[in-house]
């Protein structure tokens, strides 16, 4: 089957949705289909230009395509008789971000007109879909609340599960993922002040800004934690990253109210590593279960210190939690072959 993935392009910017589209393309091909990605430039500034870009999507003609899988607004407005929506996000500034007062739509009548135009177009596009999936529970809830549309969640699978084979612990807890205030790696570094001397932490990942990196380094220096906390704050290759995960005693991920299961927790689970998380980490708690796949603590340094120590206290129990995490992930059936199967159903 000829499957065209339709996505937006913010020219010269490559992010998570681009990565998702590329991996979907790769896995469609692995499943024996022809696949290609159409990326259409979209600029949401100025907001007044959004309607012409919506119209632009409607004006394109798609020939020689059996199926369309669309990911984002306004890409999903494209006309095709067999469209499936795998919703990454709508134009949130016309929905929940509008309600939260974080919108680029102008105030007053003009903004209202834009907002209703976006909503109307969405309603029409959703009605055209053969089926609707979202990438997370949060996106699904938003779609139900604002558009009255039911959807099934298809969590984007780990892209390279073969890298996360697990392995002997090298004696550190890994705190992975992008480094910023919302991901709260600083809580884990502060927790290290209260841990036993044999507990070690490795923070590895790309900082969003130099300030994010400096903040962590200052904490390490200030509390003289240099011998037990290692910071490797940069973009890691997949090989480097997987080696860190596979060599961890456990993997800690304590973001504030994350939308999704998160790649970090899925990859750690795939590698059979026990998970450490916080009770307000949101979607992550779908995998991080206290006493089953790891530990869930209060988001405070002292509380986190307790569970960091526990990860080293009984390695047999830690490994049992790691096995539990892998089992839980596999029970969710989040893998590319079944995802591709669902999207083409």
């Amino acid at each position: 089957m000829k499957v065209l993935i339709v996505n937006n392009m913010a020219p010269f910017v490559w992010g998570g949705a681009e990565e998702l589209a590329a991996n979907l393309e790769r896995n469609l091909i692995l499943a024996g289909h022809q696949a290609e990605i159409l990326r259409v430039p979209f600029q949401w500034e100025p907001a007044e230009a959004i309607p012409t870009q919506m119209l632009m999507m409607r004006a394109f003609e798609l020939w020689n395509v059996d199926r369309v899988i669309a990911l984002k607004f306004p890409a999903y407005l494209i006309r095709h008789p067999h469209k499936t929506l795998w919703l990454v996000h709508q134009y949130r500034q016309a929905y929940d971000l509008f309600d939260a007062g974080q919108t680029n739509l102008p105030p007053g009548e003009q903004g209202e007109a834009l907002r209703s135009m976006i909503r109307e177009a969405d309603q029409q596009a959703f009605a055209e879909m053969r089926s609707i999936y979202t990438i997370s529970d949060v996106t699904k809830a938003r779609l139900a609340r604002y558009n009255g549309r039911e959807a099934n969640v298809l969590v984007p699978p780990v892209n390279d599960p073969e890298r996360f084979i697990g392995g002997e612990s090298q004696g550190y807890v890994l705190a992975a993922g992008r480094v910023n205030a919302m991901k709260r790696q600083h809580l884990l570094v502060e927790a290290m002040r209260y841990t036993s001397p044999k507990t070690k932490l490795l923070v590895a990942g790309p900082p969003d800004s130099a300030a994010d990196a400096d903040a962590l380094q200052r904490l390490v220096d200030q509390h003289d934690l240099g011998d037990r906390v290692k910071l490797d704050l940069r973009f890691l290759s997949r090989d480097e990253y997987a080696a860190y995960v596979n060599g961890a005693q456990a993997v800690a991920y304590v973001p504030y109210d994350e939308d999704a299961l998160a790649y970090v927790t899925m990859e750690a689970s795939q590698a059979g590593k026990a998970l450490i998380s916080a009770c307000d980490s949101g979607g992550v708690l779908g995998l991080a279960r206290h006493g089953e796949t790891g530990w869930v603590a209060m988001p405070h340094p002292e509380a986190l210190a307790g569970v960091l120590d526990q990860a080293f206290a009984d390695s047999r129990r830690t490994q049992a939690y790691g096995d539990g995490a892998r089992e839980r992930l596999h029970a969710m059936d989040i893998n590319w072959p079944s995802t591709v199967g669902m999207l083409l159903q």
């Binding site: 020219p11 159409l38 259409v40 430039p41 004006a59 003609e61 798609l62 020939w63 020689n64 395509v65």
Partner: protein
């Protein structure tokens, strides 16, 4: 520099128009530029043309420092620094209008579409900072129909230093998609007239199975099994390099192509002379008879003569091979030149 390369495409159809874009992308990135490739769908159905042209006008690429546009109607994209590397018109409304290839009636409606299309093209061409084309014939059409002057920027092949000349065996190779208008059949028919032990090898995927069957039937009919090898399949880049390194010469016999074609370029990089015909179109921009190959009449006997000459006059064949490589420099067919002009 942030450069957007803009072209149109039909999903799942891969051809030369994608090569020129994707190879240029690699070359620009090697020079340290940030490149975004923008492929937008377009079908040339006359009744759907204008809505699609409107869509192209609404594309916002203001994030780019400059845009380079290729396949039609990508030249309609708006940008303050727009460069065109124009590879063809929508030909049914231009040079093919008075031919059987038009595909729709010559009536008031389609004359209206034609005139509006030409007006839109003229306006878009006028917006461009620079107009380059890929061949003399496209430049001539731009002049004739749109009154626009352009500069020819011959598209090079990718990583041309892969090609080498090792030896000269007895085989003339034709490495190209097998299609009727590429006229592999003419080369086979010529083989029933050759007087020497020259052989030919046809390699490439056939767009249409019946044409490959037709070629096999011709080989049977003329009992040429021992003189003609046919490989109806995808030929890898590595295989191509190997074949060209040892062949006697290369053939490229299309019927009235716009441009000189990658097969003749690849042969030149391997220092092998080229066999073509008087009616091949753009290939004539590259090949001069007796200089870097032979230009035969489009009939089997004349083609057979040229094949025999390659075989008999080895020194001449070798000399023309050296000339073929030199000819590329004369026409400035290189990425260095392309980048210099596109970024000027």
């Amino acid at each position: 520099m942030r450069i957007a390369l803009c072209s149109t495409f039909v999903p799942f159809i891969y051809g030369g128009a994608r090569n020129i874009v994707e190879w240029l992308q690699v070359m620009l990135e090697r020079q340290g530029h940030t490149v975004e490739r923008v492929y937008l769908p377009e079908v040339d159905a006359p009744d759907l043309l204008f809505q699609q042209m409107a869509a192209l006008r609404w594309i916002d690429l203001s994030a780019a420092d400059r845009v380079i546009c290729f396949r039609p109607q990508a030249h309609l994209i708006r940008h303050p620094h727009k460069i065109l590397w124009f590879i063809h018109h929508i030909r049914s409304f231009y040079d093919l209008w008075d031919t059987p290839y038009r595909g729709f009636p010559d009536n008031a409606k389609y004359r209206g579409v034609r005139d509006a299309l030409r007006a839109a093209d003229n306006a878009a061409l006028a917006e461009a900072k620079q107009v380059f084309t890929n061949s003399r014939v496209v430049s001539e059409r731009l002049k004739k129909y749109n009154g626009v002057d352009s500069e020819i920027l011959y598209p090079p092949v990718f990583d041309s230093e892969r090609f080498e000349c090792r030896s000269f065996n007895d085989e003339v190779v034709y490495i190209c998609r097998m299609e009727h208008h590429k006229r592999q059949h003419l080369l086979i028919e010529a083989m029933s007239h050759v007087k020497t032990a020259v052989r030919i090898r046809l390699c490439g995927r056939s767009g249409d199975v019946s044409y490959a069957d037709h070629l096999r039937a011709l080989i049977q009919k003329h009992r040429l099994d021992d003189k003609v090898t046919i490989e109806d399949r995808w030929i890898s880049e590595e295989e191509k390099v190997e074949l060209l390194a040892d062949c006697l010469a290369a053939a490229y016999l299309p019927l009235d192509e716009d441009s000189y074609g990658y097969p003749s370029l690849e042969a030149s990089h391997a220092s092998k002379p080229i066999l073509t015909t008087l009616d091949s179109g753009g290939v004539m921009e590259l090949v001069s008879d007796g200089d870097n190959g032979y230009v035969a009449d489009p009939d089997p006997r004349s083609v057979a003569d040229a094949l025999d000459k390659f075989y008999m006059q080895r020194d001449e064949t070798r000399r023309m091979g050296v000339r073929a490589a030199a000819r590329l420099d004369e026409l400035k067919i290189s990425w260095t030149h392309v980048l210099e002009r596109l970024l000027a």
